[in-house]
Symmetry: C2
Subunit: 434 residues, 2 copies
């Protein structure tokens, strides 16, 4: 049985997919049953890293979607539109879709999933999170017996590359960003990566799968690394931590009506050096899933790149091809692979969530400062793990506080009181701590 593949986009990932399909030897034999039938590109004349029959190319993506020889539509063009419309168009045409487009899925995932369920087709998204790392399929197909307590991860390679070099070299954020741009690890406009938006897209997707219901992407508290100072990376190191941009989705209990309460967020975080995520360096990604009864499992690997991402795209194609052999194109959907919503989820008020914190204060270098800061925390019942004076010169000092796990609202109240102390010149940094 031959299965026709239509490709929307022939950039690095699309070319990677085409390369796999054109050289099936040594791969799973099902790869040999996939046939690239039509490829939509923006510019027919542009040179390609992969050789394709020119007759396959078209500049009309709808022609790919509606080609009767195309059974599965692969969307690797990126961007919100026309990607979203083309995905919906393929679903309407009764075709399963494979996409690497995290932005579309994070924003329009529920609309797309509803359309796919109604039409009885799959929309698979392994490549949207973690590049080549199998994480979407395992969440859907290997961890369903669990009550998921937390999904946390390093899911943006650009920021992890920058943070790794800042930690290893004591380098400044701006310097490393410029290097990353020169090396192609960061975009010319790096905002989506360094401000945390890309990681927020991905954790929204992971949360939806882990907890069985969508969360509002735009309401996810998101903090990037563009304001991170080399000094805090260095202090963290001295205190036994690595600074990582973590994306976290954590269960906070269940409402009386069964709605799952989730604390979902993205922020730079101090990770203890003996934690499995602390050793994830460079452009690698890792996702830690904690559940009952599995405990802690982690998935690690290359978070981006043509080859790894194409591996994930073709895995999704194979899953659709494989399941077609069970019951033909008009059969029922496998509920694990289709991964529809099965409960309502909502984001909790960040003020009531509990976290550990790292705080750096610039203060006067006077006796009693640490005591006064400690009193402010004490009045809000914020328990302190350590308080360390790091530098003192010219009448100024730097004080770093690490708290125990405390309610966010109480921490913020204490911080307001601290900022108002005459000794405190500035709240220079405030980061989360695992």
């Amino acid at each position: 049985m031959t299965i026709g593949i239509g490709l929307l986009g022939l950039g690095t990932v699309g070319a990677g997919v085409a390369a796999i399909l054109s050289a099936p030897a040594g791969r799973h034999p099902l790869v040999d049953q996939l046939r690239l039938q039509r490829v939509a590109v923006r510019d027919l004349s542009r040179p390609r890293p992969v050789e394709l029959d020119p007759a396959l190319l078209t500049t009309d993506p709808e022609a790919v979607v509606h080609d009767p020889a195309v059974d599965i539509v692969v969307e690797v063009m990126g961007g919100l539109e026309p990607a979203r419309s083309l995905i919906l168009s393929a679903i309407a045409a009764g075709k399963s879709v494979v996409t690497a487009n995290k932005a579309v899925i994070a924003r329009h995932g529920q609309e797309i999933a509803a359309a796919a369920a109604a039409r009885g087709v799959y929309v698979l998204i392994e490549a949207a999170v973690g590049g080549g790392i199998p994480i979407i399929e395992p969440l859907k197909q290997s961890l369903g017996a669990n009550r998921i307590q937390r999904v946390s991860g390093i899911i943006n390679g650009t920021t992890n590359y920058i943070l790794t070099r800042m930690a290893d070299e004591g380098a400044l954020y701006g310097t490393v960003l410029a290097d990353a741009q020169a090396l192609g690890y960061a975009e010319a406009d790096p905002a989506a990566d360094v401000e945390g938006g890309d990681a927020a897209d991905k954790i929204a997707i992971l949360a939806g799968l882990a907890y069985g219901g969508g969360v509002e992407r735009s309401a996810i508290p998101t903090e990037g690394i563009s304001g991170l100072q080399a000094r805090d990376v260095s202090y963290a190191d001295q205190l036994g931590f690595r600074v990582k941009l973590l994306a976290v989705a954590q269960s906070e209990g269940t409402d009386p009506d069964g709605t799952e309460q989730l604390d979902v967020r993205v922020h730079p975080t101090l990770v203890p050096k003996d934690h499995p995520l602390a050793g994830v360096n460079g452009v690698n990604n890792a996702i830690l899933v904690e559940g009952d009864p599995v405990g802690r499992v982690m998935f690690y690997g290359p978070g981006a790149g043509a080859g790894p991402t194409a591996s994930a795209v073709v895995a999704d194609i194979l899953n659709i091809a494989g399941i077609r052999q069970v019951g033909g194109p008009s059969a029922g959907l496998d509920p694990l692979l289709a991964a529809g919503s099965w409960r309502r989820c909502r984001l909790v008020d960040p003020a009531v969530t509990r976290h550990r914190n790292y705080l750096r204060l610039q203060t006067t270098d006077q006796a009693g400062v640490i005591g006064r800061i400690g009193s402010c925390f004490g009045q809000e019942e914020v328990s302190i793990q350590s308080i360390v004076q790091f530098q003192a010169s010219g009448g100024e000092a730097e004080i770093v506080v690490i708290t125990h796990e405390v309610q966010e609202a109480r921490f913020r109240a204490a911080l307001t009181a601290i900022a108002a102390l005459p000794d405190v010149k500035a709240v220079a940094a405030c980061l989360r701590t695992l």
Copy 2:
């Protein structure tokens, strides 16, 4: 749609499975469609960690297999027989099987797979390797686009616990083994773990899935950790390595007739401290898969225990339950989930494989010894990375050599010449190095 589950065995894993099935809230909704219909136990009167309707229990496992209310048979009794016969009996009755039994699958996997394929049922084995870590499903369903170059892993928790404590505390093998036995991490008869047999079972299974064909379990070169000395763990540490019991399956090319050549082996190995497997400690497991184009992905988590293993067993049950919704019990098999063989594989002659080596020699403490050892290696064109004299007292010295990657036959020839040198009193240790 309700799906009847029959359980063969109600030990720790069986009880863990029963506990999940009896409390579906908060898990994937498909769990709520599973009904425990019959449970085979050895002794009806023994107290259980999980409360079950006594009417479910029987001492006759065939009664479970042939109960018409049982759709899926879950074998968690362990041991070769009657487990193998019961699995075959369930297949003959047209029932899919889930098993955690690595010993049966490593030895009789091809017989069982052939029977399952002929009868059109699944035999799923996620729990057989890596406890709760999703590794079987990802190999089958997420990495099929790849040409797998190597699968390597720490897949025995008992030995990893022992090695971790030997490294962290400088403790002796025998001391830690006794502790591990007292803590329940090692069996009273620890041979299957410490001699590497359990890891060999598991790498045989992983190789079969990664390369699409079975290898002869009994022919896998297997070396355990029972002869490992604390001194070598300490020297390895000083040279920048952790000693781990690695199981490896590596592609060595393809015969003209398409047969895949594999180097499969289990042995204590020096792992560079910056390698992802070096940080896997205690009873945790991790499996690293290297493929083209995915690169390196790693799967990490608890390698044993009732909860993690039950999580994997129920994942398999859910996969069978999910796919039954596609086409009903008489539909075709999903070739990815069924994971039949698709090419012949054979083990290569170990003498022609290439590895790095760690060698510890007891020698006389005389000028020129290192030179004479170096000459022996040179004559066999064995390239040396480092040669270090560690101790010298009473006219004796200890010399540790780490080679570059060399052909095994040449290394062994050099070793024979070295052992015959008058200066060399003993070849005290010989380990592989990553």
